[in-house]
Amino acid sequence: MTTMTTEPVLLVATRKGAWLFHGDAARRTWRADGPHFLGHIINHLTLDPRGGRTLLAAAKTGHLGPTIFRSTDLGKTWKEAAKPPAFAPAKNDLAARSVDHTFWLTPAHAGEPGVWYAGTSPQGLFRSEDGGETWAPFSCINDDPRYRKWFGTVQDGTPDGPKLHSILVDPRDPKHLYFAMSGGGVHESTDGGQSFAPLVEGMQVVQGFDPDEVSFHDPHCVRMCPTNADRLYQQNHCGIYRLDRPGKRWRRIGEAMPKDVGDIGFPMVVHPRDDQVAWVLPMDGSDVWPRVSPGGRPAVYITRDGGETWQRQDAGMPSEQAWWTVKRQAMGADRAEAVGLYFGTTSGELWLSRDEGAHWEVLARHLPEIYALEIAYPR
């Protein structure tokens, strides 16, 4: 039996390759391992927590089609998946679709070793049952006419393509799944993915649009509390939300954010042990959506009471003229007693707090634009 190390490894996926930063238990010293796949667009790099050795990387380059690379030795060697995610041939008069890139990778339930889920751009859901070696379309949604309508078109999506993301697996029940789409709302399955249904009540949409129309909903990131699978937090295009199951109505907890900062952003981070604690990193979502830190003054905001109140955490961050922001997959927490928080910026800096956001410092700079960051504990 192997035991879990206390030494974190940061899995950094960027626009130009991937890096692994190996930390010590105190999170004081870090060893950079990379670049892996230099020049490839890596949208996500994830460690399988069930074995603690297998890494999956979602890759493409500007000129080549998308694929998945696997490593079973923590990145020493990589092997391409034999059958990466790809849509089925067109049927039922629906338009044919092609995967542009795999965006999100989620290991399935702890009791389903080797099973993974993938979310793609344009929106698609895929599953692997052999550790990421071969992938097949999963569930009915990819070619369900209702979902096709909710996916919208490329024109409705984010600047680099509409995405299926935030695939969540209930640790109590492998058949209880969630995913979210930008755009296209949050969806839930209780039958192992045979069917999904929208879960968007209470979520707001851009002014003038109808919130009853699922396709107008744009969740940016949804997280499940590790110690309370009934509590979900969401950063949305239109605010920050919380949902306590079995309730179905999201509550906009971002209303309590300072008005001059607002509650728009991309990442959402939950505490590993306390479901009352969560963090966001707000972004300027005014007029043309600059997608930068509000006022050029980046900050993390923490709630310690489930979203009733928020406090600014910016000690160590630049106090002016800092125009980076953080993408939806590029912020996370470790499992240490004093929780470490990490985020990677659009300007290629990796930031660290060893005290739950109270103080911040730069761990690495001059990386390419950071797309995703995972905090892993290899065995």
Binding site: G62, H63, L64, G65, T67, P84, A86, P89
Partner: protein, 85 residues
């Protein structure tokens, strides 16, 4: 026939020129995939379309259709468009 492989795909082939067989462009790409697993999907999507930035030339003419017939005497050139950032 000889097939020119773009640099972005040398990680599959190990070099610029390889030998492959087939009576159509699609058949040659299938043969390449047999020799170098995974290479075809990087060039052709799951609906059979040549990907946006890939260009294929036969006898110096650009080919848009995988069913284009070939004879063994020529050279197939696969290049990537110089675009993107």
């Amino acid at each position: 026939m000889r097939v020119l492989i773009p640099s972005a795909l040398h990680s599959y082939t190990g070099g610029a020129w390889v030998e492959a067989a087939g009576g159509t462009v699609g058949a040659v790409l299938d043969d390449l995939d047999r020799q170098f697993p995974g290479i075809r999907f990087r060039m052709v999507d799951e609906q059979g379309a040549i990907r946006r930035h890939m260009r294929i030339f036969w006898q110096r003419e650009m080919v848009f259709d995988l069913s284009t017939p070939l004879d063994a005497a020529g050279e197939l050139m696969i290049v990537q468009a110089l675009s993107g950032g």
